[in-house]
Symmetry: C2
Subunit: 381 residues, 2 copies
């Protein structure tokens, strides 16, 4: 008789341990499915019912501000993580005092506020798009009414620009494009008010993302960066290989690694990069758009094209396990099923070489991510 | 706003439908994980807690004979299936009256009794090992004491032979090897008594298995048959490709298809075949050892080497969906982790190109299937 090891006495959480996940969406669901392969159990905590709860050993529905619910949650788990970057900071900090939280609250703090994020990355010597803090319509009016003011920070500062709310933006929400002379009050109304950053619109060739895993021991691994195509501000397709030459790929991964190390990050970190193309020098080729302290839509193809997916490597890191290889054994084209796209599930289910993923959200609302489909192709490297 | 279709009015069960699974072991767990990808929910019914319950939306722990628990279970599901072949027939028949049961009770009836199984297959004109019904020690003594009697049925009837209990045998349990003159009482005691079959031990080259999916519409697909190696009566490894030439593979798949059609089978059917090798004529090359009316350990490699696994194709069939392709995009070597093998999980987690699966059973008892590891290799066809 060989009992499996006891989670309480192991820093590497043994099979049978329970990982708490804040958030119950499709990312939490796919994290829970990956954990299940390793017989790590999941306890989902969310303020509403979500798809992840259908595949987890336990779940709690309570506000993120409910300290007693969080305490009860923490008492039943061996480590915690989160599947979305808008977990209230107070919640994350409180939880981190009760159970190991990976990644930590600092990664959330940086990712939740575009000003903090851009400042943090810029301070690491990593290029970001030129930006200005704008707290209200008056200061915005000062900037957009005055082309001279827009060029004062950087000689490359160009119009048009984008006003982005500092907090709670995703999938193109909380953003509006501006041209000099635009109406400042209307622009602030369009992003829902609140503090914002004015960001130069960069003329980039395309977007790529780095999906980098960092273990509790500091080991890192990175998947081949996909190239990402958007539609209406929402990710539409991610494709590997991206065509990046090895040196360019190494530079992109190097940026993500620098950020992960500066955050002492544990888990899967996503860094979205604007790729200025082969014409740019290697040190200036990539501009960080934003980071996500979590698994990412642009990495869903790792489920089929890699032996160890982004989801499993995240859960391995959270559990203190050795990371698995990020190597890819196939080419892949992932496309999102947005809103009514998912109603074609019967036809999608018969597409050749295609893995269909449906998230289990009730209503196929316009703009809602309902699933994705990944087509696998022979490896071309 | 696009509501997803209503399960109650669709014969093809839409995403969000609930499939009931009888049994809560690792096969049920992997079925539930595959269902989750399609946002089909699972309700696990078992007489004890098991790993599948940790990844299912609902579970019931009740005896298989509890008619009111079965009625409550049936009321909450849109279709039912099972993950082990020893579901009591009364339970299956009762449930089939309350919800669509796929595969049906007839497949269980055939697979549960070695005499029924061998007779059924033999009556289809498919070769099985020569066998005799033996109800008690006296009739066994008559057979094994008399070599002439052992040869009366078939001219190829050879010693030694194997006594197998008709019911509840798996992983080599309920079997004992015999030679002429062996003690009949001791042999019956060794298999736990009860009605049995005496079966000729076949001098086969190796064992292969066919994993065949059949949809509710009668469409069929088959995975490349793996070659299977056993240790101490338990499956140790399954490898694809098996090296079977196309004509031989077609013959093996043809046998499974004939059986599936005779049973009007819906779901994934496994047929274990003794392969007599290239020396045998194509019609006599394969001898059916046994069938399993379920997904099978020898098909676990389909999780990584195929876009649509045996588990997903089973759940597609149960839900009335179109089958997915059974095509393989990689070579694979699956090995089981039996008993204490699974204690090496930290080392196993770092093996290159290897997907580690741990089932989440508490104690690593000798002979207990605790997990498996599948190594993926480039496709050689």
């Amino acid at each position: 008789m060989h009992p499996m090891p006891d989670p309480a006495t192991h820093t590497v959480l043994p099979p049978g341990s329970t990982i708490g996940i804040l958030g119950a969406g499709q990312l939490g669901k796919m994290l829970a499915l990956a954990a299940a392969r390793l017989s790590l159990k999941c306890h989902i905590y969310c303020d509403a019912h979500g798809p992840a709860m259908d595949v987890a050993a336990a779940h709690t529905i309570a506000p993120y501000s409910d300290l007693s619910a969080l305490a009860a949650f923490a008492a039943g788990i061996n480590a915690a993580t989160y599947e979305f970057e808008n977990v209230p900071l107070d919640c994350a900090r409180h939880l981190a005092g009760l159970a190991p939280l990976r990644p930590g609250a600092r990664a959330l703090e940086v990712a939740q506020d575009r000003l903090t994020e851009k400042t943090f990355i810029s301070d690491l010597g990593i290029p970001v798009a030129p930006f200005e803090r704008v707290d209200d319509a008056a200061s915005l009016a000062g900037l957009i009414g005055d082309v001279a003011a827009m060029t004062k920070r950087e000689s490359t500062w160009l119009k048009p620009s984008i006003l982005k709310s500092r907090r709670l933006g995703y999938d193109g929400k909380g953003q509006v494009s501006l041209a000099p002379g635009a109406d400042a009050d209307a622009a602030f109304a369009a992003i829902g008010g609140g503090p914002a950053v004015l960001e130069q619109r960069i003329g980039f060739a395309r977007e790529v993302s780095v999906l980098l895993a960092r273990g509790a021991d500091g080991a890192v691994g990175a998947y081949d960066p996909p190239v990402n195509m958007h539609k209406d501000g929402i990710l539409d397709r991610s494709v590997v290989p991206s065509g990046l030459a090895p040196a360019a790929q190494a530079a992109a991964v190097g940026i993500a690694r620098k950020i992960a190390e500066a955050l002492d990050y544990v888990g899967l970190l996503t860094v979205e990069l604007f790729d200025l193309g082969d014409g740019a020098s290697i040190g200036e080729r990539f501009i960080v758009n934003e980071i996500a302290p979590r698994v990412h839509n642009s990495g869903h193809w790792t489920l089929e094209a890699c032996v160890i997916s982004q989801f499993e490597n995240h859960m391995r890191a959270v559990a203190g396990w050795p990371l698995g290889s990020c190597e890819r054994h196939a080419d892949a084209k992932m496309r999102n099923l947005i809103g009514a796209d998912a109603l074609a599930w019967q036809a999608l289910a018969t597409e050749p070489d295609t893995a269909l993923h449906l998230y289990g959200k009730g209503e196929a609302r316009p703009g809602r991510k309902m699933g994705h489909a990944t087509r696998i192709l022979p490896l071309t490297k």
